[in-house]
């Protein structure tokens, strides 16, 4: 069983090497994805039954060797990785041009290897190397989107590596004080003081960049929107989560900092509102979906202010209980976002390709031609907004429960507003798809027609009308990605093309119905374990 953490990392790496050389890249990649899902399920079952799996490859015990730890968080997110990667690979295999390049398969597998290493590494420097592997893979995948994707890819690379350096300086600071790199051993030795606060601040900024926490999110919409169809879901559903898991690990191990937690709480709230409003104002479909990721990232970060009191050394039982509720709620939302957002990006790519335009307005009438795809997009949006019975609803409920217990009413307001904004953005897209294609004149004269029927007509109206204020530049720069065919060059939606997204959506709903085991899983081996 101690092989599990190592296998999770090495299997996709072996796959990447084979896929880089063998002619049958797809077959190799999908075989690896199936095996990876099998490993993830085994890992989840093992962790639920026997608790966390600790191992140290190389034959040296920590702190001399590298500690790997497969805990509930790693197993839970690992399940998400297994499901999403398989679904996206199947989509890329059966859909023309979704992958962007023949190099897609090996680069995607490298990214998955980096992600798995991030999840299981319990050694701070190994986390740094793994983060870099994940970043280089993710940037390469964005760059497959053609000439228009190169500039966003470069920006993503430079900013993300800057975040890595911040993390590396934090690692150096921890090592300077404790003389070890294993997270748990170092955390036990680390005294309170300026150095601890600086470490947490550096980790939060460095990983905040990589998770696109407002206001460090500016790189994300461009990169996620310009990437090929089969890349955006991997980035949004998985890569962003990897960095968040590291942040959470370090906060939980080091006990957190109350002042910094408040700052993170404010930023998280701003992210939910700002990302939600910005998503409504986008005219380009994939940018709309990408901005909604900025908002959703805010939800996960709400965990930090809610749980910090329960992470401290002398926390009361009630505080730990709140932290556990918030932890489970935020991680369940994270998993549900991964499933639903992957489905949303896949369907968005399919719809854009079907009408030959990346613009939201170009989708008119597509609901009649591809009803299943539009329906999947809508249901994924509902899951994202956190309506019952989806997994996100369960997560949101727990998060609200934790917030009400501590009297953090602003968290409740944020969650409700964020849900409304997500629902409005989805509704806006779905309304456009259902409008007959020949209704062009009426639409031009009535820009807010679709959004007028939703609760948030004001921001939506300003999206189609002349945008003013700070968001103006974003509306102007939204341009279709080059991987999409030229306007009017739409193609028919393949018979099986929507199935991976449908499966992802079904999983997002089904896990919501029976989510108790999942909630239990994600706390195994963590500081908030019951």
């Amino acid at each position: 069983m101690t092989d599990l953490p190592v296998l999770l990392v090495l299997l996709p790496l072996v796959g990447a090497v084979v896929a880089a050389l063998a002619p049958a890249r797809r077959t190799v990649a999908i075989t690896v994805a199936v095996a990876q899902l099998g490993l993830a399920v085994t890992a989840a079952v093992t962790v639920l039954r026997d608790g966390p799996v600790d191992t140290a490859p190389g034959g040296w015990d920590p702190p001399l060797g590298i500690a790997l730890r497969l805990d509930g968080l790693a197993a839970g997110v690992g399940l998400l990785v297994g499901v999403v990667v398989l679904a996206v690979f199947v989509h890329a295999a059966i859909t023309p041009s979704a992958a962007g390049s023949r190099s897609y398969w090996s680069l995607a597998l490298v990214t998955v290897a980096g992600l798995q290493a991030v999840l299981v590494a319990a050694d701070l420097f190994t986390v740094y190397v793994a983060l870099e592997l994940m970043t280089v893979g993710a940037v390469a995948l964005v760059a497959l989107g053609g000439q228009k994707a190169l500039a966003p890819a470069l920006r993503y690379l430079l900013v993300a590596v800057l975040g890595s350096f911040a993390f590396l300086v934090a690692v150096a600071l921890v090592y300077a004080q404790t003389g070890v790199l294993t997270l748990d051993i170092a955390a036990a030795d680390l005294p309170q003081g300026a150095a601890l606060a600086t470490t947490l601040a550096l980790v939060t900024v460095g990983l905040g960049i990589k998770t696109a926490l407002f206001p460090l999110h500016a790189w994300l919409p461009g990169a996620h929107a310009a990437a090929p169809t089969a890349v955006s879901p991997l980035l949004s559903a998985l890569v962003v989560k990897g960095a968040f898991v590291v942040l959470l690990r370090v906060w939980a191990a080091l006990g957190g900092d109350a002042g910094l937690a408040t700052v993170v709480g404010v930023l998280a709230t701003a992210a939910v509102v700002w990302g939600g409003v910005a998503a409504l104002r986008q005219t380009h479909l994939k940018r709309l979906v990408a901005y909604s990721t900025v908002a959703q990232v805010g939800y996960f970060f709400l965990l930090v202010p809610l749980a910090t009191a329960g992470l401290a050394a002398g926390a009361s039982a009630a505080e730990v209980e709140v932290a556990r509720l918030a932890w489970q709620g935020a991680i369940l939302m994270l998993l549900s976002h991964g499933l639903a957002k992957a489905a949303m990006f896949l369907t968005a790519g399919t719809l854009s390709a079907a009408v030959g335009s990346g613009e939201v307005d170009g989708l008119r009438g597509i609901a009649a031609k591809a009803p299943t795809t539009v329906l999947t997009f809508a249901v994924a949006g509902v899951c994202l907004a956190g309506l019952p019975p989806s997994l996100a609803f369960v997560g949101k409920w727990q998060l609200m429960d934790a917030a009400l217990t501590t009297g953090a009413w602003w968290v409740v307001v944020t969650l409700l507003v964020g849900g409304l904004l997500t629902a409005a953005a989805t509704a806006r897209v779905v309304m456009v798809t259902m409008r007959p294609a020949d209704e062009e004149d009426e639409v031009a004269s009535e820009p807010a027609a679709s959004a007028g029927r939703t609760a948030t007509s004001a921001p939506a109206a300003s999206a189609t009308a002349t945008a003013t204020g700070p968001a103006a530049s974003e509306v102007v720069v939204s341009e279709p990605s080059t991987t999409e065919p030229a306007p009017g060059a739409g193609r028919a939606v393949g018979a099986w093309e929507t199935w991976p997204a449908i499966v992802l959506t079904i999983v997002a709903v089904a896990t919501g119905v029976g989510s108790a085991w999942l909630a239990e899983l994600v706390t195994v081996g963590s500081v908030v374990a019951p």
């Binding site: 790496l13 034959g59 190397v129 280089v136 300077a176």
Partner: protein, 334 residues
């Protein structure tokens, strides 16, 4: 005040000054040249800090490689056309300096304080010095024995970067073109130095297990030879087509194979046994040299600007006529 203190302060001041000049230089070319100077100054700093030879050699060669990458990426057009001053002029530059300086001093204070607090005898570094690993060099022991997984992932990062570079490359994902320059002076220089470079590669590789050296140094030197050969049109000696991708991933593949082999035979992933661990290290390092050399060659070749279509001049062998005015970059020196 001792001589050493004076030297340290002088060195630190120079590093700071050159770093600021690098960051705020008005032109790309001067920025890159100043960065090369920064690299040289840092080598002096490593010596002052008592970095063992292995670290020193690798750091020195690395700054050379970075310099080569940056210089080769300079273009005539961008070098000349990028003489724009920073937005907002000196005012914003001063503001940036003030912000970064204040933040840096604060962070530096915290780091120095942490280093003073943390001087305990049971640090990892002291434990690692006493380890009886399969190789004698302590830094190599840490890299290939104690923390082999880190090195494996690091090799994967390099492979991923090179595969990505090939994927976004204009001429397709499995070949690189490079303009050749077949003037007799260069050709005979390459002929003279290639055997020396190959010798040096082998020495670095073997010496890595007991003395300064290692796969990265050997790979970087080999990449230099490969680039020179490509530059003089000897595509027959350097894999640029079908064998390029295999060469790039060879190191990662062999490293992974070693991980699986040790698991099957010894029962632990990357658990190097005393009896044949050295052999594993040597085989892995040899494969790494090939991959590092191939990877660095690809990265330098693909970041070069194309003044002339790569396909028209790569095949010219046997020396260009003196009357044929070659267009190539000379702006580095002028």
């Amino acid at each position: 005040m001792s001589w050493e203190t004076v030297l340290d302060v002088l060195l630190a001041t120079s590093v700071l000054g050159v770093a600021v000049a690098t960051l705020f230089a008005p032109r790309r070319t001067s920025s890159v040249m100043l960065f090369l100077v920064l690299g040289l100054l840092l080598v002096l700093v490593w010596t002052r800090l008592g970095a063992p030879d292995v670290a020193l050699a690798e750091a020195a060669i690395a700054s050379g490689v970075t310099g080569a990458l940056l210089v080769s990426a300079l273009t005539r057009r961008s070098a000349a056309g990028s003489a724009e001053t920073p937005r907002g002029g000196w005012r914003s530059a001063a503001a940036e300096l003030a912000v970064a300086g204040t933040g840096g001093v604060l962070l530096g204070g915290v780091l120095v304080g942490a280093a003073r607090d943390g001087l305990r005898p049971d640090r990892l570094g002291d434990l690692a010095l006493d380890v009886d690993g399969v190789v004698d060099q302590p830094v190599t022991t840490v890299l290939l024995d104690l923390r082999a997984l880190d090195t494996l992932l690091e090799v994967a990062v390099l492979a991923a970067a090179v595969l990505a570079a090939l994927a976004v490359h204009r001429e397709g994902e499995s070949s690189i073109g490079i303009r050749s320059d077949t003037r007799p002076v260069l050709v005979s220089f390459v002929r003279l130095t290639t055997p020396v470079v190959l010798l040096l590669t082998g020495w670095f590789l073997v010496a890595g297990s007991s003395r300064p050296g290692g796969a990265f140094q050997a790979g970087a030197v080999l990449a230099g030879a490969a680039l020179l050969l490509l530059l003089t049109g000897r595509k027959d000696l350097v894999p640029t087509g079908r064998w390029l991708r295999p060469a790039v991933v060879l190191g990662l593949a062999v490293f992974l194979a070693a991980a699986v082999l040790t698991r099957l035979v010894e029962g632990g992933w990357l658990d190097l046994p005393a009896s044949w661990g050295v052999a594993v290290v040597l085989v892995v390092e040899t494969a790494l040299v090939v991959s590092i050399a191939a990877g660095l060659t690809v990265l330098v070749a693909l970041s070069r600007p194309r003044y002339v279509d790569a396909t028209t001049s790569t095949e010219t062998l046997g020396g260009a006529a003196p009357s044929d005015p070659p267009r190539r970059q000379t702006e580095e020196l002028t």
